[in-house]
């Protein structure tokens, strides 16, 4: 709200070292009486407003400087302690602003008065109104002082208490409606609330009306069953939660006294604002306060810190101490998820921590494109130094594995290393070559068919090939991603005619289709809000069924082999045989009933796309949102909305997936869980990548190329004292275990021992298998975490490391057979290459994709000569190298 605040570019620090505050963060230090309603952006908290013009005028109360020599001043939140209706509480935050413009939380040390009895301080942190009037609170810290005005309206304990607005947050704060208590699926002890209070009418009925209102006594509020249970007057499985003298108890009692009613139109919270919006800590441990401000749709602004919930995403970096106090524990980046009344916000927290007295000096690193510039800004902020650029051999292996799922051949390595051109020129050319290769197409097609759950079980033995063929073609022609998704969502016909329609065979009903589509293409988890409003996002159960209604008019007709009528249905309980084919078509009617009211859900999108701006030349909006009137089928309307370039969820989630594929970690993790409480580690970088992606017309290849050319992608995995404990800050590359298919293909290719899968053509790679059923003997692929294609979640793929995997690599059949293959590279070398040094070099180039060091060569030759025979020696060497991290990891 104060985008022009001078604080925006100030440094905010708690503890020791002082750091710049994220430049693009809109500060919201002061509450305003009536903020104009803001249209929520589709991805509001994940994207920060662009840098606004800087203003030098101070917006906070100037402190009274008691010592002429002091250079620092006090900054105070809020600007005014305003209690217009004589209720509520404000959290006071006091910072010291030092001469160089940095801020440090000194709230705990400041002395505060009570403005002549107008207010009282609860816990020394929260101001509560005592009597009506106006005055000033004086805040003194060391030699500095500041004053903020206090306005208290009439204080009266009979002020209307509203259920949704006032009571429900208390019940939520007390934990009544949490998942383990009355918020569980079945409720508790006969009383069921909606999870975390998302459904006020339901909760009101449960509390006030169920069993003839036995829980509430309107005549004698204190005798109400629920009041006696929560205050310890009666046995309660959840224990005694509040004292009878607590403010919460008084508020509940007053609500019952007033009739225990539900307000007709509950006032929703429009958005949450957290002060400060970003936290950066120097030394550890240190503590800083947060205040949570709710902006109601009616313009009311109030402090809800005490009723809000705070959850750190990495509790080992920072944890919550009291309500609203963050304690930094050790170096790292995290975010605090803040929720209140179904609204969410996240506060990025970075802790630079102590570094044994070393002082940080930024050393500029080469910047190959905008990615590097943006990352470097953050690295300076976080006091990290980037690792150097990796070697040519490392780059060749890394890019080959990432883009084609195969390691380079010895000849590839030799040629690339011998190329004397500028490294960046030849690396760029390599990336282009890899992206243009058929192996890229196979690798990427495998990635998509896995995510899209192409399986024989749903598509049939022929359909699974047809679907894969279509995906492969789409990848080969670099089909823009929006078109790719649109073809799937709007496809009709049989698998032969329109393989893209497979989406509706894989997902046989509206519910599974909407869950898969949102998960895959928007990166949001709608399956949560099927049964209740999403616990960590703003998605509601209504939105689930409104969106699913777009899939309610999809017809699926099973076909027999003749392409006509289906065989008779199976007896109940029997798994139907795989269909020979399914015809997907549009039904003229069909509605999806809402679960509670059983009334049909009206199709509706969970969020509106921003309108085409006039700046864009007044072009026609891409998305036709006329609804049914447009004459388009429901799913075509959905496909257009979902894949619109204005749909930030679509663009962000796809870009994030591509980034994660190359860097081993998404800017948002998990990559397919975009939500307010899970902000990107680097929002500016994500925005930039989105812009690049859109500029290229949603070309996957272009974005992969762009990322591969950055220094960040090319950084070494080597670390030093300035980045060794950084796991998320992009200061160095992360070693990644090869995914299952890539690992098996890499073993086979490096040994030149073509695989043979049962019932499949020889030479077919793991990357080319049509579904997750086909596989090698010994279950190698399953062991190494190949997804079973049962769900659209990226989490199905495991790259974890376990003991059985090590045993399989040591003496399992996948490695053993490849080593013993009589026509493999080792046998050929044993036969045709008498020079041990050359054979060793060849094996190094094939397996580790780099020449051996002199010491390695000497050790290898010794091992060969001491083995039981030359071939056995070569096999021993290859076996040892395959079992080393240099092979198993993409480094």
């Amino acid at each position: 709200m104060t985008a022009d605040s001078p604080l925006r570019r100030r440094r905010l620090t708690f503890g020791g070292a002082l750091l710049p505050l994220g430049a693009a963060v809109a500060w919201g230090l002061f509450p305003v009486a009536a903020a104009p309603p803001r249209v929520p952006e589709p991805l509001a908290p994940a994207t920060r407003t662009a840098a606004a013009p800087r203003s030098e005028g101070p917006r906070f109360p100037e402190s009274v400087d008691l010592s002429a020599a002091a250079a620092s001043t006090l900054v105070v939140h809020p600007r005014v302690l305003d209690f217009p209706d004589g209720t509520g509480a404000w959290r006071l935050l006091v910072w010291e602003r030092t001469a160089d413009g940095r801020l440090r939380d000194v709230s705990a040390e400041a002395q505060i008065d009570s403005a002549g009895g107008l207010i009282r301080w609860e816990d020394g942190r929260f101001a509560a109104p005592m009597k009506a009037g106006e005055g000033k609170v004086r805040i003194v810290w060391k030699t500095l002082a500041a004053e903020i005005p206090v306005k208290v309206g009439p204080v009266d304990d009979r002020k209307p208490v509203r259920f949704a607005h006032d009571v429900l947050p208390i019940l939520t704060r007390l934990g009544c409606n949490q998942g383990t208590c009355h918020g569980s699926q079945e409720g508790k002890g006969g009383l069921k609330f909606s999870l975390r209070g998302y459904d006020a009418p339901f909760d009101h009925q449960a509390l006030v009306d169920d069993l003839a209102g036995r829980r509430v006594d309107l005549v004698r509020p204190e005798r109400s069953l629920f009041m006696r249970k929560i205050s310890g007057g009666l046995p309660h499985g959840g224990g005694a939660l509040i004292d009878e003298e607590a403010a919460y108890y008084q508020r509940l009692r007053e609500w019952v006294r007033q009739g225990a009613e539900l307000e007709p139109r509950p006032i929703q919270v429009e958005r949450l604002e957290v002060v400060p919006p970003v936290l950066q800590f120097g030394s550890t441990p240190s503590t800083a306060g947060l205040a949570v401000i709710a902006h109601d749709v009616d313009g009311t602004v109030r402090d809800v810190t005490q009723e809000a919930f705070f959850e750190p995403s990495h509790p080992d970096t920072a944890e919550m101490e009291n309500v609203g106090d963050v304690k930094a524990l050790r170096r790292g980046q995290t975010a605090i998820l803040v929720r209140y009344a179904g609204r969410f916000a996240a506060v990025p927290v970075s802790v630079t921590g102590n570094r044994d007295g070393l002082s940080f000096v930024w050393k500029p690193a080469p910047q190959f494109n905008e990615i590097d510039r943006l990352v470097d800004l953050k690295l300076q902020d976080w006091q990290l130094l980037p690792s150097p650029v990796c070697t040519d051999a490392e780059f060749l292996r890394r890019a080959s594995l990432d883009l084609t799922g195969l390691p380079p051949s010895p000849d590839d390595v030799r040629k690339f290393l011998a190329d004397a051109r500028d490294p960046q020129a030849k690396r760029a050319e390599l990336v282009d070559r890899l992206l243009a290769s058929p192996e890229f197409v196979e690798h990427w097609a495998n990635r998509w068919t896995t995510l899209l759950q192409g399986r024989r079980k749903t598509l049939g033995p022929e359909g699974v090939w047809a679907f894969r063929r279509w995906v492969r073609q789409a990848v080969a022609q670099d089909m823009p991603l929006d078109r790719f998704v649109r073809e799937m969502l709007a496809g009709e016909g049989t698998l032969d005619q329109t393989p893209a329609a497979a989406f509706y065979m894989i997902h046989p009903d509206a519910e599974s289709a909407v869950e898969a589509a949102t998960h895959l293409f928007l990166g949001v988890r709608f399956n949560c809000n099927r049964c209740h409003d999403h616990p960590f996002e703003r998605w509601t159960q209504s939105q689930y069924f409104e969106l699913a209604a777009y899939f309610a008019q999809v017809g699926r007709k099973p076909l027999s082999r003749d392409g006509d009528d289906a065989p008779p249905p199976q007896p109940a309980g029997m798994e139907p045989p795989p269909p020979v084919g399914v015809l997907v078509y549009d039904l003229p009617t069909g509605e999806l009933p809402r679960p509670k009211s059983r009334r049909p859900a009206t199709p509706g999108f969970p969020f509106a796309l921003p309108a085409a701006s006039a700046a864009a030349g007044g072009t026609r909006p891409e998305v036709d949102l006329e609804g049914e009137a447009s004459g388009k089928t429901r799913r075509r309307q959905l496909a257009e909305w979902m894949t619109s370039s204005k749909n930030r969820y679509f663009i962000s989630s796809q870009v994030n997936r591509l980034w994660a594929h190359l860097l081993g970690q998404g800017l948002i993790e998990p990559v397919d869980d975009l939500r307010a409480g899970n902000p990107p580690i680097h929002p500016e970088l994500l925005s930039h990548l989105e812009a690049e992606f859109l500029r290229s017309g949603m070309s996957v290849r272009s974005l992969l190329r762009y990322i591969c050319r950055s220094r960040v992608y090319q950084q070494s995995i080597q670390t030093d004292v300035w980045n060794e404990d950084d796991a998320t800050g992009l200061s160095h590359a992360l070693p990644r275990r090869l995914p299952a298919e890539t690992l098996l293909d890499a073993i086979n290719k490096s040994l030149d021992a073509p695989p043979q899968f049962p019932d499949l053509p020889p030479g077919l790679r793991a990357n080319q298998l049509p579904d997750a059923v086909s596989g090698s003997k010994g279950g190698f692929l399953e062991l190494f975490g190949r997804p079973s294609r049962e769900s659209p979640c990226e989490c199905e793929r495991s790259t974890a490391m376990q003991l059985p995997q090590a045993l399989s690599l040591i003496n399992g059949s996948a490695v053993g057979d490849a080593l013993a293959n009589p026509r493999n590279r080792l046998a050929r070398l044993a036969r045709e290459q008498p020079d041990d040094a050359k054979a060793v070099e060849e094996i190094f180039l094939a397996i580790w994709n780099r020449p051996p060091t002199p010491r390695e060569e000497r050790l290898a030759r010794e091992a060969i000569s001491t083995a039981g025979g030359r071939l056995a020696g070569l096999q021993d060497l290859a076996w040892a190298m395959l079992n080393s991290p240099a092979f198993l990891f993409n480094r």
Partner: protein, 519 residues
């Protein structure tokens, strides 16, 4: 918080007087020869501790390990292990203390690892010991407690007076009296005087005041010489009452459960009453002649959730019960045997908990209503063998209404069925023709949430009550509202009732098993 501070101060004060202060060890020795320190008090010291630390799991509704410490009386009963809860001679050896702390080294064995080591702070535990040493006396008001002392709410003159929620209604068989469950009392209204002709609020002819704050059901005996009620103080006790409406005296009452009782119905011969309980039990009691005490007739715990409604078969040999576990069940009275689940037992077939049941007067059919807004009619006695997935007993299902169905009643002739339905915001009543199920009439204007229903013997008039404290009479013949009646609350300064003539306080039945809290 202030209260906590006060409690802490009280604790410190008491402990210092009891010689258990901060210098406990030294003072303990000193006090041995000195005057006997005052023992801790149950109501002021121990009960608050138990409320906070123990009551979640050791209470009547959930007596884990067979132990209920919600009252001194209950706590004195040995739990499942049979060990004495208290030993005044050796307080440290009381079971209640043993479970709180590991025995000192050398004493006890690993098998006696206390389940609640560290649950109470040492000083808190010392309070418990002190109380036991003093004889574990109960210094609280007698239970069932009445609204006296600090619990009596002070009237707030600034606020408008609200009427009580009308949770039950019953019309006398002679059609002269309407019994209304009001604010912890039964109000008897002469129907002849309604509506009041002089414009004044009609006054009840009698106010029958028992012990319970909430009355959940009312039923006249077939001859009209008795009036039965169930209710209780939610979370404290359940009570049934049988009144003589002529002499306005309480003939018998009992408190068998730890929460309210529901759904009382007289047997066809007028000698027994059946009712449901929060302990999942269907009970029936036989009224005695003259001055003799009532006797237990039926105790059947086949349900898996609260039993909210009962009905007798036509010949009085069986009781049908409706439960929040979504089923109607049939019990034979003579043998107390569970006979059958009348509703379907197919998983997923039942949608919501049942709230009420009524038997058709002229035959063995029962109508039930539940939280899902459905009214269904079932044959009470099965005529075909059960098969998986069947619902053979179901005769008819009426079109669903919005909200819950808290009450359903047949008229005396058995050719009309009336039910009330309510959401949290509004209510309605519908009249259906039986057996066709045809909808004859629905109250036109939205009513407040309704809870109760009675049908006059004339078969033309029915009465509804609900959350706004008003009783309304409708005529379905004339299809209109006849009158409205505002029910007053008890005077807030009123003294507690004198002990009824005869209260037979049955002990709580021993816990059969550790009940889990069920939805």
């Amino acid at each position: 918080m202030a209260l906590t501070r006060r409690r802490t101060a009280r604790l410190a004060d008491l402990l210092s007087r009891a010689g258990l202060g901060v210098f406990a060890t030294g003072v303990m020795a000193a006090s041995a020869g000195g005057a006997e320190p005052p023992a801790a008090s149950w109501s002021r010291d121990v009960r608050p501790l138990f409320v906070r630390r123990c009551w979640g799991c050791h209470q009547p509704a959930r007596p884990l390990a067979g132990l209920d410490i919600s009252s001194v009386e209950a706590a004195h009963r040995p739990g499942r292990t049979g060990a004495a809860t208290f030993r005044a001679d050796l307080p440290e050896a009381s079971r209640l203390v043993m479970v709180l702390q590991k025995p000192a080294a050398g004493r006890g064995s690993a098998a006696l690892d206390p389940p609640h080591d560290g649950l109470l702070a040492p000083l808190e535990r010392a309070l418990v010991v002190s109380w036991i040493r003093g004889g574990a006396k109960d210094d609280s008001e007698p239970t069932p407690g009445s609204r006296t002392g600090s619990e009596a709410p002070s009237p707030d003159p600034r606020r408008p007076q609200r009427g009580p929620r009308i949770r039950a209604l019953a019309a006398s068989p002679d059609g002269e009296t309407l019994a209304v469950a009001g604010d912890g009392e039964i109000l008897l209204y002469r129907l002849a005087g309604l509506p009041s002709l002089d414009g004044r609020a009609p006054q009840p002819a009698a106010r029958l005041r028992g012990m319970s704050e909430q009355l959940t059901s009312l039923d006249y005996s077939p001859r009209g010489d008795r009036l039965a009620a169930t209710g209780g103080n939610p979370g404290e006790w359940g009570e049934w009452q049988v009144w003589d409406p002529v002499s306005k005296s309480l003939r018998a009452s009992s408190f068998p459960t730890s929460d309210s009782l529901f759904g009382v119905r007289f047997s066809p011969d007028g000698r027994g009453i059946a009712f449901g309980g929060p302990d999942h039990v269907v009970r029936a009691v036989r009224m005695a002649e003259g001055e003799a005490l009532p006797t237990d007739l039926l105790y059947q715990a086949a349900h898996q959730d609260w039993v909210l409604g009962t009905a007798w078969s036509k010949d009085g040999s069986h009781v049908v019960s409706a439960s929040r576990d979504r089923t109607l069940r049939l019990t034979e009275v003579a043998t107390q045997r569970f006979i059958d689940t009348i509703t379907s037992i197919t998983p997923g077939a039942l949608q919501g908990g049942l709230l009420c049941v009524d038997r058709r007067p002229d035959r063995d059919e029962a109508a039930c209503g539940g939280v899902d807004g459905r009214v269904q009619i079932y044959k009470i006695f099965r005529s075909e063998a059960r098969a998986v997935g069947d619902d053979y007993n179901k005769i008819l299902e009426l079109p669903a209404a919005d909200g819950r169905i808290p009450a359903v009643r047949y008229n005396a002739a058995g050719d009309r069925l009336v039910f009330v339905a309510a959401t949290g915001a509004s209510g309605l009543a519908r009249v259906h023709e039986i057996p066709s199920g045809k909808l004859l009439w629905e109250t036109p204007a939205p009513l407040p949430p309704l809870d109760s229903l009675a049908i006059a013997p004339d078969g033309e008039t029915f009465y509804v009550g609900g959350s706004d404290g008003q009783v309304r009479a409708f005529s379905w013949g004339e299809k209109r509202l006849l009158w409205e009646l505002a029910v007053p609350v008890r005077s807030l300064q009123e003294k507690p009732p004198a002990a009824p003539a005869r209260i037979e306080n049955q002990p709580f039945p021993p816990p059969v098993r550790d009940r889990k809290e069920t939805p």
